[in-house]
Symmetry: C2
Amino acid sequence: MSLCESDSPTQQDYTRVNREVIDLLEQIAGAGSVVVGDDLVAGYACDEMPVADYHMPEVVVKPGDTVAVGRILQLASQRRIPVTPRGSGTGVCGGCVPLYGGILLSLELMDRIMEIDEDNFVAVVEPAVTLANLNTALESHGLYYPVYPGESNASIGGTVATNAGGMKAVKHGVTRNHVMGLEAALPTGAVIDTGGKFVKSSTGYDLTQLLIGSEGTLAVITKIILRLGIPPKHMEVLFIPFEGLDDAVGAVPLILKEGSLPAGIEFMERDIIGIVEEDTGKEVPHHDYAAFLMVILEGQTEADIHEQAGRIEKVCLDNGAAGVLVPPGAASRRRLIEMRESFYPTIKRSGPIEVADVVVPRSRIPEFVKQARSTGERHGVPVISYGHAGDGNVHVHLLGKDLDPSEWRRKRPVVMEEIYRLGVALGGVISGEHGLGYEKKGY
Amino acid sequence: MSLCESDSPTQQDYTRVNREVIDLLEQIAGAGSVVVGDDLVAGYACDEMPVADYHMPEVVVKPGDTVAVGRILQLASQRRIPVTPRGSGTGVCGGCVPLYGGILLSLELMDRIMEIDEDNFVAVVEPAVTLANLNTALESHGLYYPVYPGESNASIGGTVATNAGGMKAVKHGVTRNHVMGLEAALPTGAVIDTGGKFVKSSTGYDLTQLLIGSEGTLAVITKIILRLGIPPKHMEVLFIPFEGLDDAVGAVPLILKEGSLPAGIEFMERDIIGIVEEDTGKEVPHHDYAAFLMVILEGQTEADIHEQAGRIEKVCLDNGAAGVLVPPGAASRRRLIEMRESFYPTIKRSGPIEVADVVVPRSRIPEFVKQARSTGERHGVPVISYGHAGDGNVHVHLLGKDLDPSEWRRKRPVVMEEIYRLGVALGGVISGEHGLGYEKKGY
């Protein structure tokens, strides 16, 4: 989000970037790190939002360190030029899109892993380090970063700015639970440090937590202190068909009450399974059932995994499951996870879509999913939902492929608004892990 | 803390409570809930701070609901009367002591458990519900609240206001990780709701997290949505003597790297063991060793506990432990935990003391403990430390029993300041779980 966007100013409130500003930016960041020209900055005009919307920055600056970030912000504040910070651009809500032009502050050069502290299970990273790069670097240290938002090319700075969640939040929590401290540059150019290499603190307001999820509207994050964990030695995936979503979601608290703590519990329905089958040409086992849970187990021993799986099987069979499918080996286990991860790209390939990322109390999932679907039906827009049954985070997709473009443009915001209202009415919020960006601001 | 204290006003900046204000308070909260008179309000003049310091409120008000809390705050803001919210008064830093007189806002009547939601593992409570009362109520639901700050009579509102931690933070985290939402009254009287019955949210600034640990300086918390867990079916405690603190603390990352996640890992040295032995007249096994770890294991099966204990034993014996003591039964296990819990009350009984609650990165514990001790020696003040090895939270105690009172009064703040500086120099902060209260404000 633009730093100055909170009171929804218009383009006219801002100053344009002129030659003098570009010279000053070059003095700060080095001539090679300042990019102008429509063809060169075009790659920074959108993110992975399903309904792509292009906003060109006037200039792209790629500072190499915190001091430069602070000086750029100070300059922009003095000249009233909007600034949009950007990580790796894998967001889906337009959070890094320079809606008001101005300076696109790309943190891509700040991609160093500054420290891996094996004694304290801490990594200190610059914002553009990706989840994939961090976990690769951690391997030889016997450590890992357990937050798994599904997009391993996401920059860690971006996951902090949006408080990214993901599939494994049931056990490991969200980004917020793993950030121990930050360095950030304020709009004035001042640099602050928050937190440190410790979990506990009762010393003043928690500015770390205030900055997490603030989507760049308060400060630009320039360094992140992350809490690491020990990678599980064993894992298993259970695929569990049910006659209906009520039974499937109803089994979740019972699974947890048995004392198992799966890394993730996903739910899906027949509709999305059918779309994946059509896309891949491969049949998903038990595909005739109405609803499914996918339970991801992690453990340090095989015995522990077996024991957990046995308890979950019993609970599910006692509560309406048609069976519990355990993939016969690592390859089919991987295929199951990949099937789940393919949902979004497969739907995206199907034609124009729109995505909502609502969170409701876990027990309200079936109600929300059914009402979202019938909202779509009422307007003639197919709606497909799936998501994280363990934490109530539902990804709702509107499919536009069978609508003509003007009808789609007209109906899309109407259905989205109704779905958001529905989520809030059921005790939820409109974004669980994607952030608001500018795309959801109106809601 | 007083709501208006942030810029350190003096008593003269405030208005006194007069008859008219008392009448208005009675209209808001009911006549029976407004208390005046030195003998009646004296119980609200201090907390459990080791160096007791009495500050009398002018009036004690005990509102019964959120609306009344809001109206009291509004009245106080209009009349410029300081307000100090108070839970159960079990804090140790003076956070609930009415330093500037005025209104003591006791939340003691707001002690209802409003909801226990078995499907979503959520409890909604008023602030004066104690940890003990909540866990008793949760028993029949097969749920529990895992944060364990050691004082089960603490009000939940107080643990939220201070972000209380405790012994089991290694596995379960601190209060901050278990609060999903809040209702709070602002100084204007307006009531806000934050968060909800969900773990994930990427929807705007996280006001829940901002209020947690703010010690009543931003708002008065009137309702708390808590995330619950499943109580462990089995537990074990390991008591592990080492030749020195370096070895003991050095074993902690190795234990965790083996993939065990104990609920708590405590460290202690011979000095505190000696004091406890003297106090109880009972010998602690292996008491000749220099340092000890106490590892608290939780699990859903006995097999899991055994397996964890076996791995920890191996790691500790490979890294300088003299042995691993497993208590022979539930009674001796309980005695071990009680011994650890008796440290603070035993030290408190020994004479005048002072306590610091510093957090340093886990690996800096030995360095911090040694330097804190030698700081004390240099000033002739005995210093004893113990604490949470798993999270770097060290409780440092200054013992005043052998100093004459004037010497103690003179040296105490000097040694405390040096110890706080030391903690910060080692990358830490001055409070890990107690909060600042007014007692640490100067530091």
